[in-house]
């Protein structure tokens, strides 16, 4: 069962210069229930536009989006009930306190009045914002506002949580806290879709990713599989003394050596037994998400 299914979705905009911009181009992918999924891509790739369509803020020009089996275009209000969304842009209501913001927002998602107080306390405690309960939302610091946005998105306990760059402009310790929160919600059964420009964040959090560029899906699948596909499947090593007889299968690459591996553990053991103390360094080459990303998008601008 999928929590989210996107089928051949296209969205076009008319730019200020009256040109047609295809922001999302025939995108299809799906997220299984209970997973954490990363949506990655350079600036302007179409991530936020896609999120806008999933959360029924924008209509798709073509294609179908289903959340928990419900068509967003046909029954937007029913879909919205199941979603919690943290938009990319920080916005705060002018006159209200943190408590008021959450009280009315939870109400708008149908949380009964008598449950709101406790829910608010829970999320604010978890996000380390409980001390700001009575403060005006607009007087919070940037990072605190970001946390308030997250609190708004989870206060009604959504089935499906969407976070558009939740950790942009957030300090390291807070980022860890947000990750922990995401993991806990996921462990409790919330399906999560998030975008990020921090690739280590995607590596930390999600099992599967979709990589988009210029509105198109360029890679989609389990992070491990993608990494394996891009890793060279070789063991790379350096020797102190290069004038030795080499083990069968070893190839010289510049001043270093490579060995095509079949099983990492066995092959490492064989190489270290053969060369013993002559090995200066040894590592298996597994592509980082960053390398994959750069390779696929040809963009230094992650």
């Amino acid at each position: 069962m999928y929590s989210l299914e996107i089928k051949n979705v296209t969205k076009k905009f008319v730019t200020a210069k009256k040109e047609l911009l295809v922001a999302v181009n025939d995108v299809s992918f799906a997220i299984e229930q209970g997973k954490i999924h990363g949506l990655l891509g350079p600036n302007g790739a179409g991530k936020s536009t896609l999120i806008g369509m999933i959360s029924a803020m924008q209509a798709a020009d073509k294609g179908v989006i289903e959340v928990e089996g419900i068509d967003v275009g046909a029954r937007p209000t029913d879909v919205k009930k199941m979603l919690g969304v943290v938009p990319q842009e920080i916005v705060v209501e002018m006159p209200f306190t943190v408590e008021e913001v959450l009280y009315y927002y939870a109400g708008m998602y149908g949380v009964p009045e008598r449950e709101r107080g406790e829910r608010i306390r829970e999320v604010l405690t978890e996000l380390d914002l409980i001390g700001k309960l009575k403060d005006r939302a607009r007087n919070l610091s940037g990072g605190m506002k970001r946390r308030l946005m997250i609190a708004k998105a989870i206060v009604h306990k959504p089935k499906f949580l969407i976070l558009d760059e939740p950790t942009a402009g957030v300090d390291v310790s807070l980022r860890q806290k947000i990750w922990a929160l995401v993991r806990r919600l996921n462990a409790e059964g919330t399906t999560i879709l998030f975008t990020t420009h921090y690739l280590e964040e995607a590596e930390q959090l999600c099992e599967s990713i979709t990589l988009i560029d210029h509105g198109r899906v360029i890679k989609n699948g389990k992070l491990k599989d993608i990494q394996q596909e891009f890793s060279k499947n070789v063991i790379h090593f350096e020797l102190f003394d290069r004038a030795v007889a080499h083990m069968a299968g070893v190839i010289e690459v510049g001043s270093d050596y490579e060995f095509p591996m079949t099983d990492l553990g066995d092959d490492l053991a064989r190489l270290t037994t053969y060369y013993k103390g002559n090995i200066k360094s040894i590592r298996s080459e597994s592509a980082s998400l960053e390398q994959i990303f750069l390779k696929l998008t040809n963009s230094p601008n992650v």
Binding site: A56, M57, P76, V91, G107
Partner: protein, 250 residues
């Protein structure tokens, strides 16, 4: 199902409660100024059996109701668009018509609160004794507040900025209110203005309210009642259309 709508309504009521003094104070000053001028000018004049001061008084209160119901949602929505918090309305699972109605009801609430305070402060100076048709008055105030509340919602979604709001109030709303028979019976206007006034929708709101309070009507009261009811429905439809266009789908 309705919890969401009422939470939005409650939030909008809270919003104007936070600026409570502005909410009631400036209309109070306005109405006080008008009354002191007209109190002097009016003398013993009567319109039908109605003292002129009572005639103007009910007109001024109606004007206040119309202004505050219109400006409350239009201001709130234009601000929301400018600071970006309109995204909350796009995300929450509340239907478009419910969003509009929540704002319109909050506008009505503000209108009624403003009205009540104005009445408590000023009624002592006015030669008015009792209400001619109390039930009609509830209907008249309810419909007028919601009608202009919904018009404010429509305009708030449609307008790009405060300049268009100022334009709308100065060049459309105010002239229409002033030509709606707040200060004089439209029947006394020279030809063709008396007839033109019949086509001014606001004339019918004011006439409806005045008839409910005093029993005096410019022309047949039922025409005004029907016009107000019909326009409320039309504005509801227009509001839904504009809201949907501006909040995208749903």
């Amino acid at each position: 199902m309705m919890t969401g709508m009422w939470a939005l309504y409650a939030r909008e009521v809270k919003r104007f409660q936070k600026i409570f003094l502005d909410t009631v104070f400036s209309p109070l000053v306005t109405i006080g100024l008008y009354l002191s001028v007209f109190g002097v000018v009016a003398g013993d004049r009567v319109i039908g059996n109605l003292p002129y001061l009572a005639f103007v008084y009910v007109g001024l209160l109606s004007m206040m109701l119309i202004n505050s119901s219109f400006s409350n949602p239009s201001f709130a929505l234009i601000i929301a668009k400018n600071v970006g918090s309109i995204i909350d309305l796009q995300l929450v699972p509340i239907r478009n018509w419910q969003i509009g109605i929540a704002y319109a009801l909050a506008a009505l609430a503000r209108g009624i609160i403003t009205l009540s305070i104005a009445v408590v402060v000023t009624i002592w100076f006015i030669p008015l004794h009792g209400i001619a048709h109390p039930f009609l008055l509830i209907l008249a105030i309810g419909l007028t507040g919601i009608e202009f509340g919904m018009l404010g919602v429509t305009f708030g979604f449609w307008a790009k900025n405060f300049e268009s709001l100022t334009f709308m109030t100065t060049f459309v709303m105010q002239p229409m209110i002033f030509l709606a028979g707040v200060f004089y019976p439209v029947a006394t206007l020279p030809h063709p203005w008396g007839i033109v006034s019949q086509f001014n929708p606001i004339h019918h709101n004011i006439n409806f309210i005045r008839y409910a309070v005093t029993g005096y009507s410019d022309g047949t009261p039922w025409i005004s009642i029907i016009v107000v009811g019909g326009l409320t429905l039309v504005i509801f439809a227009v509001m839904n259309f504009v809201t949907r266009r501006n909040l995208q789908i749903s």
